[in-house]
Chain length 344, copies 4
């Protein structure tokens, strides 16, 4: 906790101070449970407005794996699986939560963490043309994340193309926005919340990694698209008794545009870092314009840097080098960036 610089992840601090303030102010008010309170109602209205989806069903869940597991289980029918980049969070770091719900992940090849409309189309076509398809798992929805697990971004054109393929084939599109605030704050990003409202059948706006103590706001643009979701959430053990605690946080995040600005610090800090890394001759695993930076080092350099800076270990490459992740966040301090640049 002390001494060492830490860029290990974007969920190392508590919450944006404004959120704590609102929690304190409202603390002793009595409200109904399970998200049926007025704070949650207000947050939902603000999110509907921000997404341009006046009829959207909105639910607040606690975390990303939970949101993914609940929504995938709620969208798929028993004979269907979910298409995902093989690097997708559901396929790598969720301990089999999708399979626990009874479904297969149909992992697709990726480029920098992204899948393409062409890959989806080809996969669906292969299924449709397979004489033995009734013995296989049907592609039943598409999972993408934005930013991806690699910090990369879908362009609006790419998103629209994916959405188009999904709609042609009547396959819902679900987007994991765990780090969505860092996309929204990124100059390279051209995907807005309204675009998500138009292109996706369901998506979640991440809170845990974007300034909240915890919480993800699931948005289902078309009212009633998923029947009995409240009960499904309860059945998954994902219903918050004091739902207002999530509601108040999202109400705060969507007041005065906080959610749109909260990622700026992180992205600007990452930009400074990327520039410094480039100047000092570091190489990157891929171009990631948001708050995650992936650098490739040989083993000894990786070990020596790790002594001074906490980073996320990503993977060992086949040629014997190491990929490390540096993550900034809404809470990153300028002095920490300065210190890190000195260390580099």
């Amino acid at each position: 906790m002390a001494g060492k610089l830490s860029f290990a992840s974007d969920y190392m601090e508590g919450a944006h101070p404004q959120i704590l303030r609102r929690l304190a102010e409202t603390n002793m008010l009595k409200t109904a449970g399970y998200g049926l309170d007025e704070f949650s109602a207000s947050a939902k209205e603000k999110i509907r407005a921000a997404c341009g989806t006046p009829d959207a069903d909105i639910f607040f869940l606690v975390g990303g794996t939970q949101a993914n597991a609940v929504m995938i289980d709620a969208i798929l029918r028993p004979w269907q699986g979910v298409l995902s980049a093989e690097t997708g969070h559901i396929n790598t770091h969720e301990a089999g939560a999708v399979e626990f719900g009874g479904h297969r992940i149909l992992a697709l090849p990726h480029r920098d963490g992204k899948i393409s409309a062409d890959t989806i189309r080809a996969t669906v076509r292969t299924y449709q043309q397979d004489e033995n398809r009734d013995h296989t798992v049907m592609p039943g929805m598409v999972y993408i994340s934005h930013p991806t697990e690699y910090g990369t971004l879908y362009s609006l054109a790419e998103l629209k193309e994916i959405s188009g393929v999904c709609r042609e084939n009547h396959i819902p599109l679900y987007l994991d926005g765990a780090r969505l605030a860092y996309a929204l704050a990124c100059p390279e990003n051209d995907v807005t919340l309204r675009d998500l409202g138009e292109c996706c059948d369901a998506f979640y706006i991440g809170g845990t990694k974007c300034g909240a103590l915890f919480g993800e706001a699931v948005v289902i643009p078309r009212h009633g698209f998923i029947p009995h979701l409240f009960t499904i959430i309860k059945q998954h053990g994902a219903l918050l008794a004091k739902g207002r605690i999530a509601g108040i946080q999202f109400d705060t995040l969507f007041t005065d545009g906080l959610y749109f600005s909260i990622g700026r610090t992180a992205v600007e800090a990452a930009d400074r870092l990327r520039k410094a890394l480039t100047e000092k001759g570091y190489s990157f695993a891929f171009h990631s314009p948001t708050n995650q930076i992936f650098i490739v080092l040989d083993r000894s350099a990786a070990a020596s840097l790790s002594e001074k800076v906490e980073m996320g270990f990503w993977e060992n490459t086949e040629d014997g080098r190491t990929v490390l992740r540096l993550a900034t966040s809404w809470a990153t301090q300028t002095e920490d960036i300065n210190a890190l640049i000195d260390v580099l």
Copy 2:
């Protein structure tokens, strides 16, 4: 929210002010995720000490249904079911979360929300003597709650007897302590945390209904009793990224005995209420000495009282009357009790 008196439940407010203070103080510190932080470590040590279980494995989960679903799934093997009072929360208000995990609830007759050692023994014996038992679901664990869903309490003698039957038959005993603080603050209660540490194979200390924003502390007295529980928790979507938010809350609740005193207000308020109700000739569905009171009214009286006071609807009796629940909590105000007594 305004105007009407509300005794609908014990999770209508936020958190004990001391908890909010600690969250604010620690807010900008950086810590590891997933409960591997020092606040969680400190909370666990305090809970181990309070329970007299120095080697206990402890995990912080978000809510009661989640804790029950995860723990039951983690304890049972596929061919086993869980014994529970038919009034048990898992059997009534968890939307099939246990069955979602693949297990049957073997519901037992109850008395005032409690099951007896004799009933458990008889059920296990019936299974063992059944020639067709291999075609049936084996009793694999016992679920009890303390206080029960009816606000009643197991005596220490009853708990020990149940624990004895469980151990004779190698069947783990799991206790749902969603409202445990209200038992600990109740003069009639003779079951301590140390008794739970001795008698149970797993139990949870409730936070959500006992002063926290959310959170339940699962205690497994015997280290390693449940292997890979971290991964099982993740797989259930129940792993909190910022685990410290739960850790800080429990660290606060177990500092200076807060958890042992936090229920007193509620129990004293309930006592005043019970006395007033008795004096005014109300009748009770059963004797419940903790923070929940169940009164039986005829339909019109129930309707008229409901206009002035928010209560929990419990059930309609066969003879056409209505059972309503009044719940007090750590946050109940004296003036609200006074006002309620006036209304009665």
Copy 3:
């Protein structure tokens, strides 16, 4: 196998000789797998005709528990459970197969193994009127068996009333016909296959206990009612590679009315037995007019009879006596009945 008389169950022999003959005749013909062969097609046509359901979807499964587990999982959505008599086979002797699929059995009180339309209606209404219903399991289908596990029969009037309640409430009705041939051969029965075709949303015509080596014919009167059932069957490990083996058996059972006559031997033998038992002063647990007879004996009489006759142990009554089951079948021999009557 030798010596002792056996009336333990109705699946102790192989198959009706005509079935073995057909299997032998067709043995070396080549056909497509998975039920896509011409024998299965022919059997389906005959069953459609017999049930008056020209558009019915029909699948041949291997056994009763499998048929129940697959169909209940295929019909229910995740938030729903299945209503069943507490004595229903799915609730007593299927080892938790329904829960393995993720669903709760909502067990209802029974009379002689039967549930009533009133009980179903009241249960559905209680759910609908429950303010907390979103935290509970929704009644999603009704399971009944005919004959019941107690050898009793629904009257056509009862069946129609149940069907009516189900349709009013948009709840599918599923009927387990494991021993259907013994109902069809019983003079007291007034429910025909056509009635099942009209009243049920799905049902199965039992083969295993009614003259086949194995096999149950699932009938879904309304084509397409259950989408992707072929894949669901495969996913449950219930798809027979050589589907024709089931097809040939059902084609034989539905040729020249065999299925309608095959139960007669059993019912007539049971009638003789019931008469003899009555004359000798035995008492019955309840009136069962089909091929199962339940007699109540004190322990010593039960033990002594069990030395000479294999019977099914059913249960110990609360007053210390024993209920034993005698089952006849399509294969029961007159001399065995004579010998049994001598022993009584």
Copy 4:
């Protein structure tokens, strides 16, 4: 059925005539159900002797997908997945049956349908060295098939190496022997039943594709390795009421060495075919020495051959050609092979 030559699969006929004869001879005998009969007992003794596993637990299941789903679910704990070639039957043609049971398939790269000990070792090591392994699915067992889905064979040396890696890492090895008789009859094969008894923790001896009407014999060399398997089988809907029907078939297959000779016809026919194909200049997708032959044709040749011969479509290659499968079986007739060679 008529006219066209058919080499589409190895389960197009009924059963070996000797099996039908035994079923007919024993038809009217009465036996206990659920595999507790003397025929099943006799079959199990013969299989134990053939495998050199005197204490083995043996169960007869109905089909291959069922056997795989039941055994994988029975062996894995909730946090574990099964390692398999990406071409493994469980990963391609079982409609998500493993995931329905809650588990992930960890698909590995293959060579001609086989995985290597090195790949397994590397996968396990990667898991063990992953700092985030508690967020991932643990390798919990290994699935291989012999012959593979591509008709290829593991050598005894390869099998022993795989078994060695599994034992070092305490990971059970399970082998799918759907077509085992065709391996045992193949001159290139050096893996015996005794080798399987030594190297595997569980395997099944295929009946459905090797001369039975249906049925697979699951062998668990170490008694008690899987507790409560009977109940797990029941729970999966996989318990045959008239278990003897499977028992009699396997008793016949293991009398007078029938199982060891029954594949010879198929392998010899395949050898003639392979020779003729080679002479006529056909190219093979890979070398498969058992009863399955995979030829690569350009689209028009594939279409024209398909008009005269029923074959299994396997896949379209990236260079625009088609892989077709020709399968022989224990029932293949010499005249059909002659006719096919004429057509080629």
